[in-house]
């Protein structure tokens, strides 16, 4: 027996490891099949669809206003941004312009939601990398935004607030003050993140030079949002094709510069999100200062019956989320297709993971910041 053990050759064949769907680092219900050679990933096959509710089929059975709550439930941590694009698509087909006050309210809530969503992304990323503190700090501040939304529209996560034609209720002067207060409070809190994560050597070692996606590859995969900008471009829909009055606000678009490693690595994508939160605060402050008086909602029929086909994309926290809407002059949408940025990021996992270590899979998954509700729809 002793001899047998000593003379036995080391096993060298590939090993298949199953990760998920119930795994805390997959941020939802994603299953990965990992083919490994020792600790090196040879290939990874994402298996999605565990949260598939066929949103697109549901949308064909509801009227135009009734689809809004279903949009919320795609990316449930950035629900405001999900509604935003849908409302713009319907408005484009109906050929209506919402009042300027309504546009400003939408910008404020969309940017607040972006901060909340990035806080969740950054906090859980810290958690994945073994640091518990940033998670607690991030959720403390995210809670303040959720309270703001609760006061605004009565819901904390799924709002049904931005609707085709306007928003569901007006923003009060007190709430505008609260939004500004939040920005004043939050800026020093965000600076703390530099010490907790950004320059933390353990965190940097786990994320720099890991999961590098070069720019041409990112473009071919159709990346958008912070994932694309992390690879070294400053393409942003809010600048390139401004909607809802974004051209009025002064802000810069951060991009990955490879400060800790290679351009397009996990650290760059993480740092893009941190910098974007500063920019969002700038936008909120300007929008709060410039918010015009007037109607908070435009004129729209109770059951609108638009016609035509349109594709509208907006800059969501996880990338450009687009709606392709086919309307045939009926009460219900004929076809509504949601283009999900997370779906695309997930499809690239195989290329990013190949040749990396097993532990890096968690690092890569966290850095592309997927929400499975949006991947599966």
């Amino acid at each position: 027996m002793q001899e047998q053990t000593e003379n036995r050759d080391l096993r060298t064949e590939e090993l298949t490891i199953n990760m998920g769907p119930q795994h805390p680092s997959t941020h939802g219900v994603l299953r990965l099949e990992l083919i490994t050679d020792g600790e090196i990933i040879k290939a990874s096959y994402p298996d999605i669809g565990y949260l598939h509710r066929c949103f697109e089929k549901h949308a064909e059975a509801r009227d135009y206003i009734g689809v809004v709550p279903f949009c919320d439930r795609m990316d449930y941590v950035a629900a405001m941004n999900m509604e935003f694009g849908y409302a713009l698509a319907v408005e484009k087909l109906l050929n209506i312009e919402v009042p300027e006050r309504c546009q400003a309210i939408r910008v404020i809530v969309a940017e607040m939601q972006r901060i909340a969503s990035h806080l969740l992304a950054v906090g859980t990323y810290g958690l994945d990398m073994g640091g518990f503190t940033p998670f607690i700090y991030a959720f403390r501040d995210r809670e303040k935004i959720l309270r703001f939304f609760e006061e605004l529209c009565g819901a904390r996560l799924l709002y049904n607030y931005i609707r085709p034609g306007g928003v569901s209720r007006d923003i009060s002067p007190g709430l505008i003050e609260k939004a500004k207060d939040f920005c004043r409070y939050f800026k020093p809190q965000l600076d703390e993140m530099d010490d907790l994560l950004t320059n933390n050597s353990i965190f940097v070692n786990r994320t720099a030079n890991v999961g590098v996606i070069p720019l041409d590859s990112a473009v071919s995969y159709g990346f958008s949002g912070p994932n694309l900008r992390g690879s070294g471009t400053d393409y942003d829909l809010r600048k390139a094709h401004p909607y809802s009055g974004y051209e009025k606000y002064q802000f810069t678009v951060p991009q990955g510069e490879g400060l800790k490693g290679t351009v397009g690595d996990c650290w760059d994508r993480y740092y893009c999100r941190i910098l974007e939160m500063y920019e969002s605060m700038k936008i909120i402050e300007q929008a709060c200062d410039q918010i015009p008086a007037g109607d908070y909602t435009g004129k729209i029929a109770k059951t609108p019956k638009p016609t035509g086909e349109v594709y509208i994309a907006t800059e969501c926290p996880r990338g450009a989320l687009g709606y392709y809407l086919v309307a045939q002059g009926e009460k219900k949408p004929y076809r509504l297709k949601a283009k999900s940025p997370c779906f695309i990021s997930t499809s690239c996992l195989d290329e990013m993971c190949r040749g990396m270590m097993l532990a890096d899979v968690v690092s890569i998954l966290g850095s592309i910041d997927i929400v499975l509700g949006e991947v599966d729809r």
């Binding site: 590859s217 473009v219 471009t233 086909e309 594709y311 392709y324 045939q328 283009k339």
Partner: protein, 199 residues
């Protein structure tokens, strides 16, 4: 493939303000009509025609056989450089009799390829019309890596067959699912693997 610097500008905004030219829309030569003209002359058999699509987006309709060549042209031609495939969407249309407001239409599946050029800030919608009973089209996975999963989703949801796809399988529903849910005449299953489906 050109170098990424040519395809996508790295630094566009020198100051905070958006350049005027971008706010006023795309430059003259890169509109849908011009793209249609280029496609119909350069790609034989594309039969490209543009539809204004008001109040929605204008689009180009090409034949299914020429789709691959058309997208290849739009991706590589320096006038367009549409190196981003934003989305592939398919819509199922049942046969409709003419009404007062609408002319009669054939049963069909309309495939929509939305392309985007970072270089020219230009979005182009290319449409292909397929027969409803046997929708088959060439895969564009070789041109765009984004196409892989979009085409799988199209197959899963609407049953469109993509010739030459490297991994032609269902993606969102389970492998043993019957039917394609986004077909307009889809019948909801009463049970799945012995479990009763609540309705």
């Amino acid at each position: 493939m050109q170098s990424p610097d040519v395809l996508i500008p790295k630094k566009t905004y020198t100051d905070n303000a958006v350049p005027k030219a971008q706010m006023t829309g795309t430059p003259a030569p890169r509109n849908v009509e011009e793209a249609t003209l280029a496609l119909s002359t350069k790609i034989s058999g594309s039969k490209a025609r543009s539809v204004s699509g008001h109040p929605g987006d204008p689009y180009v309709v090409v034949t299914a056989e020429s789709l691959f060549e058309c997208l290849k042209f739009l991706r590589d031609d320096s006038q367009y450089l549409c190196q981003n495939l934003t989305v592939i969407a398919a819509t199922d249309f049942l046969k409709k009799d003419a009404t007062d407001t609408q002319p009669a239409s054939e049963a069909r599946i309309e495939m929509v390829y939305i392309l985007y050029s970072y270089r020219h800030r230009f979005q182009l919608t290319v449409k292909v019309i397929l027969p409803r009973d046997n929708p088959t089209i060439a895969s564009v996975c070789e041109l765009y890596r984004a196409a892989n999963w979009y085409e799988r989703e199209c197959f899963d949801m609407l049953g469109v067959i993509f010739d030459g796809h490297p991994n032609h399988k269902r993606i969102l529903t389970s492998p043993d699912w019957v039917g394609h849910p986004l077909r307009r005449d889809y019948v909801f299953p009463e049970e799945y693997n012995g479990m009763k489906v609540p309705l």
